[in-house]
């Protein structure tokens, strides 16, 4: 097996996971646990695919995928923030909704392929100089623009969360909303904007699957990646930079099945690897408790100003 091409494929397979993980990190930093990642990815995937199929415009498709993901997040945010509904059940419902909607809207398109000009737009691009670095150039710098965009978003998210005052306010909202409220931070506004941004990024991750990675429409195209992303947030300890590494690691588990096709182990057991890997990693990371790795303190809890 060619190591360089394997690692390069790992980056591509990890990219949808990276988008979803980044979207969920932003969401959880705002103090909300959104288990609808899988749903938002599916809505984004179907919106992106249908847009690409009908208009042939790659940028419009990406835009629609992000809007669709954000719309899913808007429903979640309205229910959990404004109406203080249970976050776990609302997120689950969003996943069920996304599964149904993507299957409903996508049924006409099952087996259809993304138009050629969209495909060409997303073909691997070499970055001058960087692509010529031996070994690393092929692994990191010879991909489509959405791979680069995901890394840019990761870095931008890191800067936003750790280096800007708005990001600091956001973390306060997630850690201790009553203090944030007392400091006259508009909690609901922060949650609405950041959760919807998170949803948009998840939608983009879904579109990466339907437009670039597969790029054919098939039902349930995410096959659990949204859920793996929820776990990856924990391995990455809510840190966007670590999310890059965690996502690529799981991208590797995702494709190892194809690569070892002729091996003694059945393909179906190799297909289990990402899910088994999630269980093992989640167990190890949950057992290891430290202040640095802990979730935002108010994660998953509704904020009742009236009960302050």
């Amino acid at each position: 097996m060619d190591m360089v091409s394997f690692l390069s494929a790992t980056v591509v397979a990890g990219t949808p996971l990276l988008y979803a993980t980044l979207g969920e990190i932003l969401t959880e930093k705002s103090g909300n646990l959104n288990l609808g990642v899988e749903g938002m990815m599916l809505i984004g995937a179907v919106a992106g695919f249908i847009s690409a199929y009908t208009t042939g415009s790659p940028l419009f498709s990406i835009g629609m995928a992000m809007i669709a993901g954000a719309a899913g997040a808007l429903v979640y945010t309205f229910l959990t923030v404004s109406l203080r509904a249970n976050q776990v059940v609302t997120g689950l419902t969003l996943t069920i909704f996304g599964t149904g909607l993507s299957s409903f809207l996508g049924q006409k398109y099952v087996g259809q392929v993304v138009p050629d000009n969209v495909k060409n737009f997303f073909k691997p691009l070499n970055i001058p100089v960087l692509s010529n670095i031996p070994f690393l150039g092929k692994i990191l710098f010879s991909h489509d623009i959405l791979v680069y965009l995901s890394i840019i978003i990761a870095i931008a998210l890191g800067i936003y969360l750790y280096r800007t005052s708005v990001g600091l306010n956001l973390r306060a909202v997630g850690e201790n909303p009553s203090s944030a409220d007392a400091a006259s931070i508009n909690i609901n506004l922060y949650k609405y904007i950041n959760l919807m941004l998170g949803g948009a990024i998840c939608g983009l991750g879904g579109a990466y699957l339907s437009l670039v990675y597969v790029p054919t429409w098939q039902e349930n195209i995410t096959s659990g990646r949204g859920w793996i992303a929820v776990a990856l947030v924990i391995f990455a300890s809510w840190n966007p930079y670590k999310a890059i590494i965690a996502s690529y690691l799981f991208g590797g588990l995702d494709i190892i099945g194809f690569r070892l096709e002729n091996a003694v182990i059945s393909k179906y057991f190799l297909d289990m690897l990402p899910y088994l890997g999630t269980i093992v990693a989640l167990t190890v990371f949950s057992a290891k408790k430290s202040r640095k790795n802990s979730p935002p303190k108010h994660l998953g809890l509704p904020y009742f100003r009236e009960e302050r």
Partner: protein
Amino acid sequence: MLRLVKRENIDKGTNIRIRLLFLFFSFIAISIFLLILNYNPIEVFRGMLSGAFNTSYRIKQTIITAIPLIITSIGISIAFKMKYWNIGGEGQILIGAFGAALIALNFPDMYKPLLLTVMFITAVILGGFWAVISGILKVYFNTNETIITLMLNYIALKFITYLQYGPWKDKKAMGFPKIPNFSDNAILPSIGGIHIGLIIALIIVVIGYLFMKHSKMGYEITVLGESKNTARYAGIRINKTILTAVFLSGALCGLTGFIQSSAVSQTLSIEVAGGVGYTAIIIAWLSNLSEPLMLLVSILFAALLQGSSYIQTAAGIPKSVALILQAFILFFILGSELFVKYKIAANERRAA
């Protein structure tokens, strides 16, 4: 300015009225959604109703569809009462069905009542085991059970796919990837066109109700769901309670697996769970985790499923519309909760 005021005591009438109002809203929203997609909502609803109830055959099919929903939602609700989010019903059903098939395929000639009993026991134990993996990880390593149970769904599905395409593949099926059918001895009997899984389901509703409302264990599960600290002060052994409840939760899903594989598909296949594990989550939550309500809501959801597969053939509307309808209803009921617990009042101005 408007603000929320906690209702002092929530009377049942108001509770039901608010929920019904929101259920009505959800149907308005669904109608608008269908109109946007260029379908006539009235025709869709009428088609679904006739698909579910129009002939006695269809009514029977609806009841048969309700059976796994009833048992699984009661199973899942045991964990949900502890605020333990077991969303692994789908995988637990598959593993239960695997247990039933393991016995059925190896001992096809065993005496029928004995064979069915052994299948039942194996399915229940394996279903419980599959769920309790997440419980053990939760208790000893504090892992998030939602993710673990979901990952176990995918692993179970891959495992059954492996059996279906690999070692258990029917050699007589001319290359078609299916597992051999069970022998007649391994198939649950029917009465009047409905298999006796219905009786099992009704028994489970009664036992489930008595267990949660009148047993010590059921009480402990409820207390634990309210507050871990209260449970600790009350001397409840938390870990033991969690593990037992999670096992029971999975065991009932395993029972569903046994019934579906034996009476409905009459073999093991990757379709044996068919989304029941997920639909049951919605049913359990909509029913406020009350057993009699789960029975009722399961029948309504079975009608929804039957109706939507009918309109798929009759009117060409994809049957995934059922999932969308379920999600819409649940979104609205989730939204109603605030208005059940709080009322909106205008801020009274104090006299200056």
